[in-house]
Symmetry: C2
Subunit: 123 residues, 2 copies
DNA sequence: TGCTTATATATGTTATTCGTTATATAACGG
DNA sequence: CCGTTATATAACGAATAACATATATAAGCA
């Protein structure tokens, strides 16, 4: 789960967003990072290396260029990690669950036959 | 989107996972980090501060204890960010999209009336 | 071949991160 | 009140991160 660290940097997230729209050359990505963040070409190259090492992106050679593509599986890993928390916000019961977990004794409305991950809630 | 940085550390992810199961005291979390990572109490306290600053967790005072709870909205932010990429893996067409984006001329099977984010695919 | 373009790596600097030990703060129990 | 418990902060060092400038590598082209 090195992926989180790779995405911890705003520049890298921006590069990943761009690659979400399709394949890009290193030069196109460097231009983007220069325009939006004022970064030098080597700086972007370093960011791309970090993304490559984390397998968030992949590159292939095309003559003198390097073409980068997103590796969606890496993002899916994060999505999978989030699964264990999704019940805490995705259902209508999320707010209730939060209330109860924080010690409220009288939730707004009674709810039977439900489960959440938070303590103090019916399991 | 400071959240990614907060979750970049494995110890902090573990603490968040634990808090996903319900409210915990700082001491319980410190014990967990000590047992699983060999960390000192101050080290865990620092991790908790980082999670607090990033609003991934919240704490409240209970006598001499601090009770920590997860702030699920922060995780939802990540989930929302992932939305723009989800089509790249969630559908059966994801693999096909990848193929085409990478320059394959003859996908395994024809698919009409679909859209993906990747270049070279029907929009 | 030799200049130019495209991209990566090297180097040095500064800022940040993460850990430890030591210490402060505040509540608790006798 | 005092010792103990619970937790945070201070101080410091080692490792890492991120940037710029300079340079290497290799392809493209006249």
């Amino acid at each position: 789960m090195n992926t989180f660290a790779a995405l911890a940097d705003p520049t890298r997230r921006r590069l990943v967003e761009e690659l979400g729209r399709g394949e890009r050359t290193a030069g196109e990505l460097a231009a983007l990072a220069r325009d939006e963040f004022g970064l030098s070409q080597p700086a972007t190259s370093r960011h791309l290396r970090i993304l490559r090492d984390a397998e968030v992106v992949q590159s292939r050679v095309d003559g003198a260029r390097r073409l980068y593509t997103l590796e969606p599986q890496s993002l899916e890993t994060i999505d999978d990690w989030l699964d264990q928390f999704r019940s805490l916000w995705s259902s209508a019961l999320a707010a209730l669950g939060t209330e109860v977990a924080r010690g409220r004794r009288t939730p707004t409305q009674d709810t039977t036959t439900t489960t959440t991950n938070q303590d103090g809630v019916v399991a």
